[in-house]
Amino acid sequence: MNILETDSARLLTAVRTLLEQKGIVSTAEVMERMATTDAANPGQGGRMVAKAWVDPAYRALLLSDGTKAAEALGIMMRGMPPLGVLENTPEVHNLVVCTLCSCYPRAVLGYPPFWYKSASFRARAVRDPRELLASEWKTVIPDAVKVRVVDSTADYRWMVLPVRPAGTEGWDEARLARIVREGDMIGVTVPGI
């Protein structure tokens, strides 16, 4: 049998045991990395979005250099791919997908959700995004709004800056951040109140 066809959990244990014995990667290092990776979550992206909604200078920074904008809020970007941010407007709705694998703005949103990695999302998002969003997320993009699908194929990672929903006038950043969901920053949903 091809050794790679071994049960995956056993394969992981064997590889980790060998790497530890050889002094290449220790268990402590893996555990520490798991903890830092687990800490990234959509709340970080939500804080960036909320700040951009209330602070025009921050919004300009976010749209010109997402990495610097993330760092400005204390998010660790060192060693991470550069972050680009695409702005939704009354004229354009952005949707991010990775048709080749699963590139995702992990530094600011955390692990990609299950659906983002699925074959059907990857296939449908580029070809029929309006039908995909309407049927799966009940997100209906009006005909007058252009849909721009961003296929994340290379070294950047892309996040969407959603449109601030009506009815949030006067809200502070913390309150705004709470209405921003993971899907809003990929473009499968839009924030509402």
């Binding site: 029929d128 252009k146 290379a154 950047y156």
Partner: protein, 92 residues
């Protein structure tokens, strides 16, 4: 180098038919005409990185395509925005 606003065509090449490769240019956009939106920077060529070969830095561009040209059933003015390395682009 290509400039923002320039019209480009993605090379209609299929190296995957010839042997093991790693390519970041999606099949559906090969041979299609698009427009350079902006230069994103130089990055090591993933086609070499994938085989642990020395990887030259290559320019990467954000390129816009009209959906209608690729999938006729799409709403014609909807767009696709894709990162494509310069060595996959040519002047039509």
């Amino acid at each position: 180098m290509f400039a923002a606003g320039e019209t480009v065509r993605v090379k209609n090449e299929w190296p995957e038919a010839l042997g093991p490769v790693h390519i970041r240019t999606p099949h559906y956009v090969r041979g299609e005409v698009g427009e350079i939106v902006r230069y994103l920077g130089d990055f090591p060529n993933p086609e070499d990185l994938a085989f642990a070969r020395p990887a030259e830095r290559r320019p990467l561009y954000h390129v816009r395509f009209l959906k209608g040209a690729i999938w006729p059933e799409a709403k014609p003015d909807d767009e696709l925005l894709i990162e494509i390395f310069g060595h996959w682009l040519e002047r039509p």
